[in-house]
């Protein structure tokens, strides 16, 4: 049921905030199309010089895509109710500014402040998520922020300038060892936001509890910011150091993350958790591309570096489109039915056919099914990887392994998305609320229409987009852009391929119309037993064979939590092994140590003065000995 009159839930203040945010994101979308490259200097008197902004083509492209997602999120959020609406909208505005500033910052201080602002606003926007997961996110993202701060401070002191665009490959000054450490720290620093193993522990819980629009922005726009700074940092500001060990380590970490994300998403019982792991998997693929590009720049295939970075950026863009589509679809379904667990859904394609079409498009795009956009970026990744021609024997071993990792995580992810769509929308309803969902507002459908059509258009007509990305990446790297050497030209022609597919399907449809047969409607075949709503395959049962096969990776622990709604019912969830076996023991260790150290705290002023004296003496002696 689609309702066209949309009640604006919340006060006028919320309305004003939404309009402001929509307006600024429209301006953001136009950045790429209307204005050219430009830079701007904030004249703010300060001790650390001026605050520069720089909008080059690469930045503008990502700003446009991120603003588009932002606009869609804002439109989608009109009919939603969040506690503290006005504050939420205010924070959304702030997050938009922070993201744009972080992407376009050209001075170290501005970049760090903007990135910090992104972290803090997203943390504040996570109402509803339970306190543990919020603080886990806060801690992890700030640990990452600290590493990033360290890296940029080091870059500043090495290069002697705070203007980022003036740092042209400081690795030549800093040497291989220092710049490798810097890149690793940068990788881990942004990896905490992207969910690189084991810093993904905050993701599933936060995604499950936070408002859907926060989750959408966190998963798409914030990831875009992180990827953009990472690319610029590695290839432009620091420069790829001559260190194979670092690159192999990064490839290993990202492949492990991708496979882990895909595997864990198979056993999740809430759509949002599935999408959280999927986000992690996709971002790992992007980082894998970046690492592969570093590898190519080391082994001398310079032409492939740009193509691999293009693949990474293309996947980032595609991810932000299909992931925001899927997250908002899930948000709409949850809003209309009130159900969050996949085991309570089912049969929604019959009662919400419009939403199910968009969900299907999003699912197919995520699963990299041709001719949608997810397929194009995965195609570009595999194609570029196998076309690498290396002579160094150790590295030659790496490429097939990376392709294998791509294949495995791609297929696992596809299974997981088939399960997501199949158990949300197909089958028979598993609860009363799902059988009779509430109304859907036009404002909730419009963003889905836009994003779903973009998923199709950017899949079928990917060539212009790839050209734009290639041009901007080439200009970023300062290499010559050759329009005829398009990464997509040659063996794949998506428009004609999809046209042929469509023509064949239409011909078949026409052919089958020649002899029109009657179609009877009947019940699902039930072996003579009346089927009840629970008498169908469950989503946990669906992936049970896979869990059986990959048993050692999942761990036995199953978390039980009482469900308040029904008497005697319970939730089953596979515990995330990294949280259970790594972070919890770590936390206990820290607590234990803190308690031991806490015994020093006697409350006696004399002993405190004693501690101070002791510390001072130690420091002074230490300084004396070193200098």
């Amino acid at each position: 049921m689609v309702v066209s009159v949309v009640p604006l839930k919340g006060g006028t203040l919320k309305g004003i905030g939404l309009v402001l945010c929509a307006f600024s994101s429209i301006v953001g979308v136009l950045t790429y199309f209307v204005i050219g490259d430009f830079s701007y200097e904030f004249v703010i008197p300060s001790a650390v010089g001026s605050y520069n902004l720089m909008f080059d083509q690469f930045t503008r492209l990502l700003i446009s895509i991120s603003s588009l997602v932002f606009l869609m999120v804002v439109i989608h959020s009109v009919g939603f109710e969040v506690s503290d609406d006005e504050k939420y909208v205010c924070l959304t505005n702030l997050l938009f500014i922070a993201c744009i500033l972080a992407m376009s910052a050209d001075s170290v201080i501005l970049l760090l402040v903007a990135w910090e602002l992104v972290s803090v606003t997203t943390f504040l926007m996570c109402y509803g998520a339970d306190e543990t997961s919020r603080w886990r996110y806060f801690t992890m993202t700030h640990m990452g922020g600290l590493l990033i701060m360290l890296v940029f401070a080091a870059m500043w002191s090495i290069s002697g300038t705070y203007v980022l665009s003036e740092m042209n490959g400081i690795s030549s000054i800093a040497g291989s060892m220092v710049s490798s450490v810097l890149i690793l720290l940068l990788f881990i620093g942004f990896g905490t936001k992207l969910g690189i193993l084991p810093f993904h522990a905050w993701m599933p819980d936060l995604y499950a509890g936070a408002p859907i629009h926060t989750v959408t922005l966190l998963s798409t726009v914030c990831s875009n910011v992180a990827i953009m700074i990472l690319v610029k940092g590695i290839f432009l500001w620091i420069g790829v150091p001559d260190n194979i060990f670092l690159i192999v380590l990064m490839l290993l970490m990202s492949s492990a993350t991708a496979i882990w994300g895909a595997m864990e998403s198979l056993v999740q019982t809430e759509p949002r958790r599935i999408l959280a792991y999927s986000s992690m998997e996709n971002m790992a693929l992007v980082v894998m591309c970046i690492s592969a590009a570093m590898l190519f720049s080391q082994i001398g295939s310079e032409s492939l570096v740009a193509v691999m970075v293009v693949a990474a950026i293309l996947h980032t863009i595609n991810h932000s489109l299909f992931k925001s589509l899927m997250l908002m679809t899930v948000g709409t379904v949850e809003n209309c039915t009130g159900e969050h667990a996949i085991e309570k859904m089912g049969g929604l394609a019959k009662v919400m056919p419009v939403i199910s079409v968009f969900a299907l498009i999003g699912t197919l795009a995520m699963a990299a099914i041709p001719p949608l956009n997810g397929f194009i970026s995965e195609w570009l990744m595999i194609k570029t990887l196998v076309s690498a021609d290396t002579t160094e024997s150790v590295l030659r071993l790496v490429i097939p392994l990376v392709v294998a990792a791509l294949g495995i995580c791609g297929m696992m992810a596809a299974v997981s998305y088939a399960r997501l769509y199949g158990f949300m929308f197909l089958g028979r309803p598993r609860s009363e609320a799902v059988a009779k969902p509430g109304p859907v507002y036009r404002t909730m459908i419009f963003p889905l229409v836009v994003l779903a059509s973009l998923c199709i258009v950017l899949g079928v007509f990917a060539v212009p987009l790839v050209n734009e990305i290639t041009e901007s990446v080439c200009r970023l790297f300062g290499t010559a852009y050759n329009p005829s050497a398009n990464a997509l030209s040659g063996s794949l022609n998506p428009p004609i391929l999809s046209a042929i597919l469509l023509v064949i399907a239409l011909l078949l449809l026409l052919f089958s119309r020649i002899s029109k047969k009657k179609t009877k409607s009947s019940t699902t075949w039930d072996c003579g037993i009346e089927l009840e709503k629970q008498m169908q395959y469950s989503s946990s049962g669906f992936t049970q064979p896979l869990v059986h096969v990959f048993h050692p990776f999942y761990g036995d622990k199953i978390a039980y939590a009482n469900d308040n709604e029904e008497e005697g019912s319970y939730k089953v969830r596979f515990a995330e092994p990294f949280t259970e076996y790594f972070f919890r023991p770590l936390g206990r260790l820290v607590y234990g140590m803190a308690e031991k150290i806490g015994k020093m705290q006697t409350g006696n002023i004399q002993s405190y003065i004693g501690y101070i004296l002791f510390t001072l003496l130690t420091i002074l002696l230490g300084v004396r000995l070193i200098c």
Partner: protein, 314 residues
């Protein structure tokens, strides 16, 4: 515009589509002969399809709008693949996709079929889909890797029509470990992908051993006919890929009549041999337990990975 090559490649695609029920019939006939039965005629699959296309269909009330579209998606993806692979002649009518696209089109087919199994909300369909997905997690990467290994081996990139030509030109140097490893991985993949013994039994219905048939349980009449036809086409396409990508010797590389005649004879001989081998395998093996199949599938994955690694390291 309408060159000889275009006409021939169009004809070969039509032939490939047309003979797919025949190949199924042939395998059944071989099996019957091995079991000392007379067996049904080899054109029986055509009769079955014709009968199904003439019947009305029954559709479950619980299904959504997607249910009736799935047979069309499955069949058209298979027809598209048939247009994309060389069979008798190295030229192809639709050179718009490459090997990677080919693998992902198989995924489209599988994805549609799995979602079709979940429609209707029956336990059988769900079970079939679940098992199919378990196998596909191991099959699909093996398929991708073995095909990529051939692409790297031939040095012709990922263009499909280049590979047979390049391999033919390589002569005996093509018989390297990578080819053998990739081909053996591909054969296992072919059996698993097409629901043959030891992975699934194509001749059982409504038993708990089944994978492929369970997903089709809600389909009837014309829809079932289309699903059956696309499954038969998938088997034929896999056999044709084995013929023309892994062992392309004999394939017609020019449009000269003598070359085409040799190509036709060679490919038919290869297809009959593969059909015979499949029948032999199915008569001498039993369907293995569901949780034993991952062992074989992992072996297939490792073989394909070794093929790839051997190309880069040897």
């Amino acid at each position: 515009m309408l060159t000889d090559a275009t006409v021939i490649s169009f004809i070969q695609a039509v032939v490939l589509i047309a003979i797919s029920p025949l190949i199924t019939g042939l395998i059944r006939k071989f099996k019957a002969m091995m079991q000392h039965r007379i067996g049904s005629s080899i054109i029986q699959p055509y009769r079955d399809l014709l009968k199904l296309f003439r019947k009305d269909s029954v559709v479950s009330e619980s299904t959504s709008w997607m249910f009736r579209l799935i047979p069309y998606v499955c069949l058209s993806s298979m027809v598209l693949i048939a247009l994309m692979i060389p069979f008798i002649f190295t030229g192809i009518i639709a050179p718009y996709g490459d090997l990677i696209a080919l693998v992902y089109l198989f995924t489209l087919y599988r994805f549609a079929m799995v979602l079709g199994g979940l429609e209707g909300g029956s336990c059988f369909g769900g079970m079939g889909s679940s098992r199919e997905m378990m196998m596909s997690v191991l099959i699909e990467p093996a398929l991708l890797l073995s095909i990529m290994a051939i692409a790297v081996l031939s040095g012709g990139g990922t263009d499909i029509s280049n590979i047979p030509v390049m391999l033919c030109n390589m002569g005996f140097t093509a018989f390297c470990p990578a080819l053998i490893l990739a081909a053996s991985s591909f054969i296992i993949t072919m059996l698993a992908e097409n629901a043959r013994i030891p992975f699934d039994n194509p001749s059982t219905h409504l038993e708990l051993t089944m994978v492929h048939e369970a997903m089709l349980i809600e389909y009837s009449g014309k829809d079932l006919g289309m699903m059956e036809l696309s499954a038969e086409m998938r088997l034929t396409i896999f056999m044709a890929m084995l013929c023309s990508l892994f062992f392309p010797w004999g394939i017609a590389t020019t449009t000269a009549p003598s070359s085409i005649i040799t190509g036709t004879i060679a490919v038919m001989a290869k297809m009959v041999t593969i059909a015979f081998l499949i029948a032999l395998l199915e008569s001498s093996l039993t369907k293995s337990r569901l949780f034993k199949t991952p062992n074989l599938l992992t072996a297939s994955f490792v073989l394909s990975l070794l093929a790839m690694v051997s190309l880069y390291t040897l």
